[in-house]
């Protein structure tokens, strides 16, 4: 009963990532529910669901891998995380902000928002963008949204 794992995910090419952090801004904007980017982001701390990591040599953006065998879902004490049609989602009504998912995610891909409630990349499927905003806005096309068929 294993589901077909051929689904699109967000991937990053380290060689092309400029560490410009635009993906973080595009992510925060896409999930703000607002239509004016300045209104949504200017002068405020942002809580993106993708973040740029790296060192002086290399950089890359990290977001949820939507694992086939997700330890975050299995560990959530509130049953707030679930995997449906290949996408791992958080039910923010149920989340109590215990951070157990942060304790277990091997990619460091989850972080709470300003209210302490968890949020994570849900591939922009639910917001107005409809496709990952980080991918759409990446100036060097370092972030792509494609099927690679690998199982995580």
């Amino acid at each position: 009963m294993r589901e077909n794992n051929d689904m699109k995910r967000v991937y990053v090419n380290e060689e092309w990532c400029l560490a410009c952090h635009l993906c973080e801004y595009n992510c925060a904007f896409a999930n703000s529910g607002l239509s004016d980017m300045a209104l949504a982001l200017k002068g405020k701390p942002i809580y993106p669901r993708i973040h740029v990591e790296g060192n002086e040599k290399i950089s890359y953006a990290v977001s949820c891998r939507h694992c086939e065998d997700p330890i975050c879902v299995k560990s959530c004490i509130a049953g707030a995380l679930s995997r449906d049609a290949g996408v791992i989602r958080v039910d923010r009504e149920r989340c109590v902000g215990c951070l157990t998912c942060v304790l277990v995610c091997p990619y460091g891909a989850l972080a709470p928002n300003e209210d302490g409630v968890m949020q994570k990349c849900e591939l922009c499927l639910e917001n107005a963008v409809g496709e990952p905003a980080c991918v759409r806005g990446c100036p060097n096309r370092a972030i792509v949204y494609e099927e690679r068929g690998e199982a995580l």
Binding site: R9, N13, E14, E53, S75, A78, V96, C98, V102
Partner: protein
């Protein structure tokens, strides 16, 4: 057709059901549920009292969970005996349920030491189940002075949950510090101070010696009057069913990495078991929710004829009190790396070239990267541990390894 019987209806049972259904869509599943409730998240009972969740949101799965997974649930029933020869579980109403595979997900029960005079206390509570929390909710009010015996995870979450509902909360414990099973003295001191600032009073290194109706007399002679008493001294794994059936039991039901007990076709999962802690390399009761689910899932897959192993169990906890979070994992042995600020504390323990455990108070960003190093036993020589010590980051992995991790093909 296979017949699965699961004794217990908590998170380990859910894992078991989902594990079975990942392999076998048609086998019969019977769940024996002592509590007359659909599965809910027990760790949320303190959040319920604090007003951070409610009864409907505490349900661990959706309303159609049992129906969708074609489970028969026997509410309010308990298994009293396993008849190994006939492969039957005998229930408390005398009925029998036959199985091809049995999973014991019986959890644990509060352990109450025999305090002198405890019988004279009328208003006393445990803090394990939702019924416990609902009873406590009824038994306290704005003017209540509450004494909690036990400064472990259960006692302190209870204290946090009720603080705003009552007049005062005091906590006593025989240990010299709070959360003594997961924190050393300095780390515990940070949490204790934070809780004291919120108004919780502690009597540590000094537990209750005896009770007189509405007051406790501590070992030191201090008298603590109370209107409600919560007993959160500890828990014991519920092992009796297997033990009486001649199975191997230590502090918990002994299981292997496939969650098999010593007895044929009998599996066990969750707080009732003693599994292998890969960080300490020894058997331990790991009574934490993630392990319950993962053990249950593993048991379910194997009961249904699949092939699963859960061989990465470690103790781990993420626990917050009034906004201050503590994360702990693994075992605290070997060499210590430490960073301290006014508001945060990080301790990493390394031994034999491996990360063995950590304690993080305050900052816990991307802590799962540390946790995965412990679980996967990643050789520290293969990564940039100097970088990783300072901040949990996948940048510490060699590029090829990292690209593989993230599914890159470049």
């Amino acid at each position: 057709m296979k017949r699965y019987v699961i004794v217990g209806n908590g998170v380990a049972a859910v894992g078991c059901i989902e594990g079975i259904r990942s392999v076998d869509a048609v086998g019969e599943i019977t769940v024996v549920s002592g509590e007359k409730r659909a599965v809910y998240s027990r760790p949320l009972i303190s959040y319920y009292l604090e007003g951070k969740t409610d009864l409907s949101r505490m349900n661990y799965r959706g309303a159609d969970f049992y129906e969708k997974n074609a489970c028969r649930v026997l509410y309010g029933r308990r298994a009293v005996r396993i008849r190994k020869d006939g492969k039957e579980a005998e229930l408390d109403d005398g009925s029998r349920v036959s199985y091809t595979g049995l999973c014991l997900a019986t959890g644990s029960s509060p352990f109450v030491p025999s305090f002198e005079g405890l019988d004279s206390v009328e208003n006393k509570y445990s803090f394990m189940t939702l019924d416990d929390a609902l009873a406590l909710e009824k038994g306290i009010g704005r003017e209540s002075r509450v004494l909690i015996v036990g400064a472990g995870l259960i006692g302190l979450k209870c204290a946090e949950g009720i603080l705003e509902r009552v007049k005062s909360v005091a906590v006593c414990d025989l240990a010299d510090r709070v959360l003594s099973s997961i924190l050393d003295a300095e780390c515990a001191g940070r949490i204790e101070k934070h809780l004291e600032e919120r108004g919780i009073r502690f009597y540590l290194n000094d537990s209750a010696a005896r009770f007189e109706k509405d007051r406790a007399i501590l070992k030191s002679g201090t008298v603590v009057p109370f209107d409600a008493l919560v007993l959160a001294v500890g828990v014991r794994a519920n092992t009796a069913l297997l033990k009486e059936a001649g199975g191997e039991v230590n502090r918990g039901i002994l299981v292997d990495e496939r969650m098999r007990t010593s007895e044929e076709d009998i599996y066990a999962a969750g707080d009732c078991t003693e599994g292998f802690d890969v960080s300490a390399e020894q058997k331990r009761v790991l009574a934490i929710l993630p392990n319950a689910y993962m053990q249950g899932y593993t048991a379910g897959v194997n009961m249904a004829g699949g092939d699963a192993a859960f061989d990465k169990a470690i103790p781990m906890n993420s626990i917050g009190f009034f906004g201050l979070h503590a994360m702990t994992a693994g075992s605290y042995e070997g060499e210590l790396y430490e960073e301290k600020t006014e508001t945060s504390l990080k301790r990493l323990f390394t031994k034999d070239g491996l990360l063995k455990g950590f304690i993080l108070i305050g900052g816990s960003e991307r802590a799962g990267i540390y946790t995965s190093l412990i679980r996967e036993k990643t050789p520290l020589a293969s990564i940039d541990f100097d970088l990783l010590k300072k901040a949990a980051t996948t940048a510490a992995f060699p590029p090829e390894e990292r690209r593989k991790k993230f599914g890159g093909v470049v």
